[in-house]
Symmetry: C2
Subunit: 478 residues, 2 copies
């Protein structure tokens, strides 16, 4: 089923100059290696992988710079890549060319606990960074589901977030500065060439242009990150709602009360069913439309107080409530949410959970309506799906489950994905809250942004006149 | 002393076309009106005001767009202006041309409490917005000292913050989207043309390029802002330290304990003296080098708990401590900090507090060293100054006090301002944490940013090829 186009090899002169930069060990051309670079976690690239012509593994800013300079000279597409845990084809070489693997630039260069910041290379894994920060009582808050695998450089490129964004914000909020190799090979530092300031408004903040630009404007080679103190403890309130609308009301009531939960997660009836299949002892109520899991954090006594306040606020909307401020019990309650990503696959025997249309975001007030509409769409195409997500900011993850060998289902799920994206725009939302555009959402960009797209394209042309950096993504010039 | 250059009047054809757009009532050309537009709160523009050739008062996006289109056609400098509370000359027409007054575009268009956002015009005053939000239990957190006067549009242009940035972040973190008139007159909407999503990573986030660009890339005509619930109550811990270094240690210990104060303010011995002069009954200890004022917020019982924890953490560093979780008593303690900006003027009989070099930011760890060094510089020039600021993020406000009629002092204070900026860069800090660059810090930009300046200039040239928007600022093309 997979259509794999093997691109022709690159000019020998280019290969030889790449070999001069990276040596034999870190230059790969054989077919098996190229295959490993041809996909990410997106449904699209699993169906239609794209091979690079050569892959190189960088260890330093200088190597990245020389490689980019070479690509620019010969106008060869260059694709930066971290851990390729993305779900949009963002790191996939759709036009062949050079795959620049940054995963080995993974040193934590400095943890400056007095100034609440760290300096790292882009290939550091989110979880490795947080493990290293623990002994300083610090943490890097953005926490995507892939935190055990994804690189911080990739998180910055996509402006990732995760379930605690509702209280702690997104990756953007934790980048103080960065070293960037531009499409010309030139190297700049944003946020002050030698600054370690926590706050600055000096000049255009170019970091914020780079963040979320998915490697199309420059390659991040060093990051200066802002850190926060570790929260001491956490508390959980899990509750279930007869109707989706009641869950929406409960979320509003919690915000109105002045509480700021560190996470507010929703699971629909299908997700509840799936989690119960995976872990029957959780015994979640099945006859309701939605479950909400609230998390609060802080010092022990503050958590106790917040759990009690929260419980009182949601009580009038729910017919089932469990709560705790004890670590072990919280772990158990949290499992309901933690298992859901994997559990939805169980909704269909032999089923495969597809990532596509999985990251829409709508205004909180339109969440119940949107959830119902997604189930209508799914029904129309005869596809089972579970919906869960970060209801506190309106971000929903739809998990359609299909039989990969059923051609009709495979066709239908792609139509369904399209409909979900269009629904998001219709509901005054966005096609992507935290996963990015890449190739899979490029076609919605003009509708979503209108004339602003021309400004994005103008900036791309200015910084990358030869269009060598991650071309073929985000509806930028091709 | 003031050198006022009266620029020649604009071409009659241009004036007549402006009159077609704005009518007679909202087009001003007489000298008195031009004078009121010739300065802001900066020392520089008080010394050397700059008059526009004509001022127009806009009431709609369409008017702004037509005016920009006209300026672009005739290549006339155009200066957007909010309340001109800035301290950098950012809104001052250094090259004459058209002054575009946006202060009357001050409608709150929508408060959508269910989706935790508001849509406003740029001329809305920060405090007016927050007053309107109160009955919804919501607030727009960034809180500069000028909150009673400054426009939110101006805050966005400078990426303002204030004393609660240490917990709640800066203006940037609360902008979800904006309507912008580009230097061509074209209108775009960032963050999704019709989006009301709270989170999005779709496309380059152009809002983040505009934020802090000080009106050099576009004119913001509408803002979609993220809101937070009102904190229920606040608590204060005020403590005094024999040595600056002890204050630094106390701040570190508080962060390490996991506490997240909503403000951490420092006042040096001169500020303490000045506040006591203004309000002797506060009776602040005078024999110490620094006072810290910590604020915490949340629900009543959480505030009580935080005040107690904080008190215990700082106890071992301080020889004087006062604290409260009662509103009235907190108000009293907070006065020490609130009065300081006005009080420093009292340090010298007949003195005038100068705004210049007043916004540097250094790594927290270098704060004591920097404070001492600023006092050395002041002593060298024979100038008295008080230093206070947001120590939680290293942002210091230096307040030199001079006799405006003393020519030597006036010369010396300008040298002192220069030295303070250079010190900030030497200390791995920045020349400006929240006030901006404008004209007064343009000369430090190349040193502070190095090659990144060329990228800023390239972006400016791309979006504003005729360099009509706020020219002469930020060391961009002239």
């Amino acid at each position: 089923m997979n259509e794999i186009m093997t691109p022709p090899p690159l000019d020998e002169n280019v290969i030889s100059r790449l070999r001069n930069i990276f040596g034999d060990d870190r230059l790969l051309t054989n077919c098996t290696d190229m295959m490993t670079y041809s996909y990410d976690a997106s449904f699209e690239t699993q169906l239609r992988p794209k091979l690079p012509q050569v892959a190189v593994i960088a260890l330093s800013t200088e190597e990245v710079s020389e490689c980019v300079r070479l690509a620019n000279e010969f106008k060869i597409p260059l694709y930066p890549r971290g851990a390729a845990t993305g779900q949009t084809g963002g790191a996939v070489p759709v036009k062949g060319g050079i795959m620049l693997d940054l995963s080995k630039m993974n040193r934590i260069l400095e943890i400056d606990h007095r100034n609440m910041q760290a300096v790292i290379e882009p290939g550091v894994i989110q979880n490795d960074l947080n493990e290293a920060l623990k002994s300083y009582g610090l943490r890097f808050p953005p926490d995507p589901g892939s935190a055990n695998m994804c690189t911080v450089g990739g998180m910055v490129s996509n402006n990732s977030s995760g379930l605690r964004a509702v209280k702690y914000g997104v990756t953007r909020h934790y980048v103080l500065g960065m070293e960037v190799v531009l499409p010309t090979g030139d190297i700049i530092v944003t946020g002050g060439a030698k600054s370690k300031a926590l706050k600055s408004v000096s000049g255009y903040d170019l970091a914020h242009l780079m963040i979320g630009s998915e490697g199309t404007l420059g390659i991040v080679t060093r990051l200066r990150l802002k850190l926060l103190p570790l929260p001491v403890t956490r508390g959980i309130v899990l509750c279930s709602f007869e109707r989706l609308e009641d869950a929406g009301e409960a979320v509003n009531a919690v915000f109105s009360s002045g509480l700021q939960p560190s996470a507010i997660e929703i699971m629909d009836f299908n997700c509840t069913k799936a989690v119960n299949m995976m872990k029957p002892e959780l015994n979640l109520p099945l006859d309701n439309e939605a479950i909400l899991v609230f998390e609060v954090d802080g010092a022990k006594e503050e958590v106790t107080s917040q759990v009690n306040r929260l419980r009182k606020v949601v009580e009038k909307f729910t017919n089932y409530i469990k709560f705790s401020d004890e670590t072990d019990e919280c772990e158990k309650l949290w499992q309901a949410r933690k298992l859901v990503g994997a559990a939805v696959g169980l909704l269909k025997p032999g089923g495969f959970r597809v990532y596509g249309g999985e990251d829409i975001c709508v205004p909180i007030s339109r969440l119940p309506e949107t959830l119902r509409e997604i189930h209508n769409i799914a029904e129309r195409y005869g596809i089972i799906c579970g919906i869960y997500g970060h209801v506190g900011d309106g971000n929903m993850h739809t998990g359609p489950v299909v039989n990969m060998n059923n051609e009709i289902e495979m066709e239908n799920v792609q139509k369904m994905i399209d409909d979900i994206h269009e629904l998001a725009i219709k509901m005054e939302g966005t096609t992507t809250a935290e996963h990015g555009v890449g190739i899979v959402r490029a076609k919605y960009m003009d509708v979503e942004h209108g004339p602003a797209m021309e400004v994005m394209r103008a900036i791309k042309r200015t910084l990358d006149p030869n269009n060598i950096l991650n071309p073929g993504k985000m509806a930028l010039p091709n």
